[in-house]
Symmetry: C2
Subunit: 780 residues, 2 copies
């Protein structure tokens, strides 16, 4: 079986497996958070899905309803496969190089986490027996945001005529995914040509979308290094620009092509302005040159790994997976710059390219503690959509801001309100991420420009959604928490605890920035009301069972018949009606357990152990969001092997294609869950007030180390079975705590402390057949 080679710093696939291409197109995707390119073969075909994406560039379509209702979103948004600049076709003496024909004697692709490039090497024999070696290397530049580049080398075994065609190709035909025919129609050739120009080795195509009216331009330029007798041509028309080079290459000779790509899009700028932008990007790229781009890319990544790297000793495959995760999280967020970080990043069309709350609760913690500027930019995107969120709250009869369940441009796109609109925790998640970012960075500029306003507007939403009731405190009724197998519940514990923190963060923000509070018309009464609501917040607890309720009434609901549920019935949402899932004690994904992670300060250790056992027995993990969080709490309550199993599940979700859908793109939140499982799980990192650790190695690992950034200081935590060592990498001293003991770590003054024995928790079991795969590391 073909599969990935295990290596510490790269992901490599040897051999050709056409049916597996669609998987590797996602795992080998390159992105800088602005441009995304799936890892398709240079020659375009065979392929699973083509895919070139520009963050924020979408087409719009009507959302259909069998029975419409007031306030239902009317327009959906779907990420568009934009003009494809990856395509470089090769003709070997008139035979097109196509991996489905002839023989791929050697074929090898490798995503390099340190160079930030995708390399390919193929020894291909044509049907008539001619052999060429094709080597290509591709990058999407972290340093030049609008630029991608491909270095393409052909070395024939014998003297041969080679023709290379390098394309810009708009409106590539895509196999329609099942679903609403109107969406499919909207995405059938979504780009309308505005402009096509070509000269020398350069061409530019400009298009706009039919319904959303967004404009984009793509340009390409080329450098050739080859033999005499080269003939080149270029032309551009509507949806195609093509640069052609033909040359006779002697035995031992080579054709070397560097293709520079520039992209730009805008909702407002004109076609000439976009063209100018693309031309400028190409000019910059050519000035830097291929080797220069490579060097910049490596320097950028060297810096990233200095602050973000994770080492694990004892599980090489996990080592690879963790760096793979970090690399893709960086790719998703590095240069988003006030655009959303989508659920799939820019690696595929899954979830229509929408961003969800997972960005704030899973992806941003990673970025906040490794590349805080990227976290800041993602939160600036939320801030830039405040008008839409305010408008949405208003339509819903609420005050403050209601952020959307799913969106590209900030407008709600969810056509099923019980799991969309009602999931108001999204706004609490945004506030949580803001507070976390501010605590981790003390970024006063962001606080004053965006943070305080975001906290105030979300606090206002809770005051409007909730009410002080004579029965039992401040209630937030009729909302949906993280668990998608419940909906429209009263007093979801997670939501209420996030709201509580949101209200308190808003109080603090207004105290920090009284002038901004004044501008936002926050009065003393309002602040007092926030305090009181936070104080009186209802947190449902079942005294009979001694556990917290996921939401009011949850623990009195019927149990799900797990014994009678067949393996093929999972994920349950595809085989069971929502109504039955909603009213029973079956949990799709960590909800109360997630609350115990991010609001761990609201639970005692005993409560955590009892709650974890209770919900573990009812959680089916039909969502890729769940395993990382379960790993964190399993580690905290003392189930270290189970925590390890969950960490592995999160880390290998995409590499092992556990949900059989990686072809639609990577699961960013699951990748982030791997980091969270390691850093917050085995590292015990918490940030309830200040940064604290409680590291403890799982069985099977000999050592682990992770790095973070906190308030400008970069440091590492290295953990063995007996001891943890805190070491400053750069910056000032770090005040933290180790298993509850406050410590201060100075530059060049590492602190080592013993690791205490884990607590002995109550036994836990999962629903029948839903235990995670036990991970026995190869070396363990």
């Amino acid at each position: 079986m073909t599969g990935y080679d295990i290596g510490p710093w790269s992901l490599r696939w040897r051999g050709l497996s056409v049916p597996q291409l669609r998987r590797t197109e996602s795992t080998f995707a390159l992105s800088n958070g602005h441009i995304g390119m799936r890892g398709t073969l240079d020659e375009g075909e065979p392929r699973g899905l083509p895919g070139t994406y520009l963050n924020g560039f979408y087409e719009e379509h009507a959302l259909p309803y069998g029975e419409a209702g007031y306030g239902y979103p009317e327009a959906g948004q779907t990420v568009v496969n934009v003009t494809d600049g990856k395509v470089i076709r090769l003709l070997v003496e008139d035979e097109p190089l196509d991996m489905r024909y002839g023989r791929a004697l050697e074929h090898d692709r490798e995503l390099d986490f340190r160079s930030g490039t995708l390399r390919r090497r193929t020894l291909w024999e044509s049907p008539t027996g001619r052999r060429v070696v094709v080597r290509s290397e591709r990058l999407v530049s972290f340093t030049q945001r609008a630029v991608a580049a491909i270095h393409y080398v052909v070395e024939p075994e014998d003297a041969l005529q080679l023709v290379v065609q390098s394309d810009l190709l708009a409106n590539e035909p895509v196999e329609h995914r099942p679903g609403d025919p109107r969406v499919a129609a909207a995405l059938d050739a979504p780009l309308v040509g505005d402009f096509a120009w070509a000269q020398g080795a350069r061409a530019v195509l400009a298009h706009h979308t039919r319904h959303s009216g967004l404009r984009m331009a793509a340009g390409m330029d080329h450098e050739l290094d080859t033999h005499e007798g080269l003939r080149t041509g270029i032309h551009a028309e509507g949806d195609l620009a093509r640069f052609t080079a033909a040359v006779d290459v002697p035995a031992g000779g080579a054709l070397r092509l560097t293709k520079y790509l520039g992209y730009g899009w805008s909702a407002q700028r004109s076609v000439p302005a976009l063209r100018a932008q693309v031309d400028a990007a190409l000019a910059g790229a050519r000035q830097t040159g291929w080797e220069g781009l490579l060097a910049e890319q490596r320097a950028f990544l060297d810096d990233f790994w200095e602050v973000a790297d994770i080492e694990v000793v004892g599980d090489d495959e996990l080592q690879q997976a963790l760096r793979f995760a970090l690399f893709h999280l960086l790719q998703a967020g590095a240069r988003g710059e006030t655009r959303a970080i989508a659920g799939k990043g820019l690696t595929g069309p899954g979830y229509d390219g929408h961003a969800f709350w997972d960005t704030e609760m899973f992806v941003l913690p990673v970025l906040t503690y490794t590349v805080p500027d990227a976290a800041r930019d993602a939160l600036r995107w939320r801030h830039s959509t405040l008008d839409k969120a305010r408008e949405r709250a208003d339509v819903l009869g609420q005050r403050g801001s209601a952020f959307p369940w799913r969106s590209i441009n900030g407008a709600e796109c969810s056509a099923y309100w019980p799991a969309g609109t009602a999931a108001f925790h999204v706004s609490g998640d945004v506030a949580h991420a803001v507070a976390q970012y501010l605590a981790a960075t003390r970024d006063t500029e962001f606080d004053r420009e965006c943070g305080t306003e975001l906290l105030v507007e979300t606090a206002r939403l809770w005051m409007s959604l909730g009410h002080n009731d004579p029965h039992d405190g401040f209630r937030i009724d009729g909302v949906t928490g993280p668990d998608e197998y419940s909906a429209i519940v009263d007093n979801n514990t997670y939501t209420n605890l996030l709201a509580q923190k949101n209200l308190r963060s808003a109080v603090e923000a207004c105290e920090r920035n009284p002038d901004i509070a004044g501008t936002l018309r926050v009065g003393a009464d309002e602040v007092a009301a926030w305090r009181e609501a936070a104080e009186r917040m209802r947190i449902p607890f079942d005294a009979m069972l001694g556990v917290h309720e996921q939401a009011e009434g949850f623990t009195a609901h019927a149990e799900w018949d797990f014994e009678g549920t067949r393996p093929e019935d999972y994920p349950l949402l595809l085989t069971k009606p929502y109504f039955d899932l909603y009213r029973k004690q079956v949990v799709k994904q960590a909800d109360l357990v997630l609350a115990m992670h991010v609001r761990g300060d609201a639970f005692s250790a005993e409560e955590k152990a009892a709650n974890f056992a209770y919900y573990e027995a009812r959680t089916v993990r039909d969502s890729s969001l769940s395993a990382g969080t379960q790993s964190v709490l399993a580690a905290e309550v003392g189930h270290l092997q189970l925590a390890y199993d969950y960490l592995a599940e999160a880390a290998f979700t995409d590499l092992h294609d556990l949900h059989d859908n990686v072809h639609n793109g990577l699961h960013m939140a699951s990748l982030a869950g791997a980091w969270i499982g390691l850093v917050a799980g085995f590292g015990g990192m918490r940030d309830h007030s200040g940064l604290t650790f409680a590291p403890r190695l799982p069985p099977g690992l000999e050592r682990m180390a992770f790095r973070m950034s906190f308030r400008g200081t970069r440091f590492s935590v290295s953990v063995t079975r007996d001891e943890a060592t805190y070491r400053i990498v750069s910056g000032g001293p770090l005040r933290t705590a180790h298993h509850g003991t406050p410590i201060e770590v100075g530059p060049d003054e590492p602190v080592s402390l013993p690791v205490p024995d884990p607590p002995t928790p109550p036994e836990v079991r999962q629903p029948a057949g839903r235990a995670p795969a036990r991970r026995f590391p190869p070396g363990g």
Copy 2:
């Protein structure tokens, strides 16, 4: 202003008001429960909506979803406007009679509740000054189910040439209602022609629907009585058959045309079989003749009024409205014969022609106590759909049978599951109607053929939906009760009380019919489980407020801001999002109050008074289902004027067009609510165990009397301010109770008893601006 004349036995509209035609097309509709014809003018135009319906004849269309889910219904059904046989056009010396041109010097239409006909008399002057009197009378026969007939007379003032065209017209163009374009497309010319034949004075057209594949045939035949020189012709083609008669009529002469119509439809029978059926219907009608049909119709109605009439003295308009209501309820149900009784009957295309739970809870009580065979037939329809209901339960992961929220053929058509699928009370409502019918008739044949099976299958649904919980008894979670401003709640009191009764009725049915119980594989354990579940049924009560909760947690929800809601914001579902309605204490329609009516045995008098006051303050009556029930409870707790106001609202919903939608059809449940308000409200009729009364006259009425049928006995209850008299009309003695005192009424032995003073209830108020109009009867 034009409007209805007030008269005791008819509804009459004098003068012509083209914009009001669409209202009167519904109020003047004729139907026998099998065929329905809107009260359009003979000449077809001007009109609001054409409309000829065959009960059960529908077209199918796909239901669209922005985000689909497992178990969502995929096909919708919509009633089809079938071949129109009402059209008779008149040419007066080449000028078509059209009420929009020339002058309608006199114009008068009258729906006669005793003859069961719609009469029209028009004195029309053509644009060139020619005058004719047109008189027509139309009936849909109660006695010959497949037959309708029109008697059409033209009397010119001067000698004139008259041409009459009598049509069968399929696929009439209908102005599209707003909504899903796919539905509109499905209903654009839904009939595909199969057959057209004409000879002599008779023609037949046969069609089928494109998607649902149902077949129908319509035939017409004619008798003419006129002067010499008559020339007639007939032809038929695709969507049109036309009989033409031309004659010179002398001054003082007349043209008299009788048009007989026959209809048939089937999902299975062939075109020739349908044609034969229509021909047979026409042959029967001609044999009976127009006068014969009139006589049969009157005899049928005489019998109806003997058992069903209501008299009120002191409010003539209410008198008329009550008979109007009874007449239309009879029309909706008389000859349905194992087809559904739709929410609009066969009076218009509203609600897509679907039947809802209102049939069982509002319409069937009226029929059960007046025309029990019609109630039986409607329940036989439910029984005939048991396979679909079992299948639906199975898809939903439940046992037993789940009846649909809305349907024509028994398959669920609701595209919004929180208010459709989740409204499982529908099945309890069916069981309630079955138990009520059986108690009122002791119809053992129905019991053995249908009743017991319906009770068992619905009881099984509750056992599957609910569970015995250690916390608080037998819980039914995650369902939606009658109030559509709440959804997906736990332990809706109404639902649980209906389920309780359903379980107990099933126990009794199995005890009555042990052989059938055996066939249905009901074991002793199952019966014991039903008993226990009924015993332990959770009924949520708020001890702090001293009231029952509509559902668990309801009374702790936020109050709706009624003061801040503007009059134009009602109905709230059009201006407020469901999510906000669902989570607040705002009630669309009687829910807990309906439970206090139909399960009044489960509440004390004090609880009823306290509950009524609590829910009255939170009920906005955005549904036409509500007023009748509020009238009943207002009367019971002692708010007699308020009860009267609500009774009037129910009774005048359609005549005063209170919801501005009567053009889409009459509100059958509201018409039934008028009967219920009078009989169960002021009559105090209850049937919890045996039939009992507690009559009490509202202020403003001098006297009222109503008639009913119970176990074969017809009797009347006549009420004055001081006294009530029970009198047998036909049949054996009646055992009942008067204000708690058991009485026996023998044939020719009327019983008169004094009416006690009403209790003094706590004061009640309605939400701001939502009090019902105070009714000051014209004579009061």
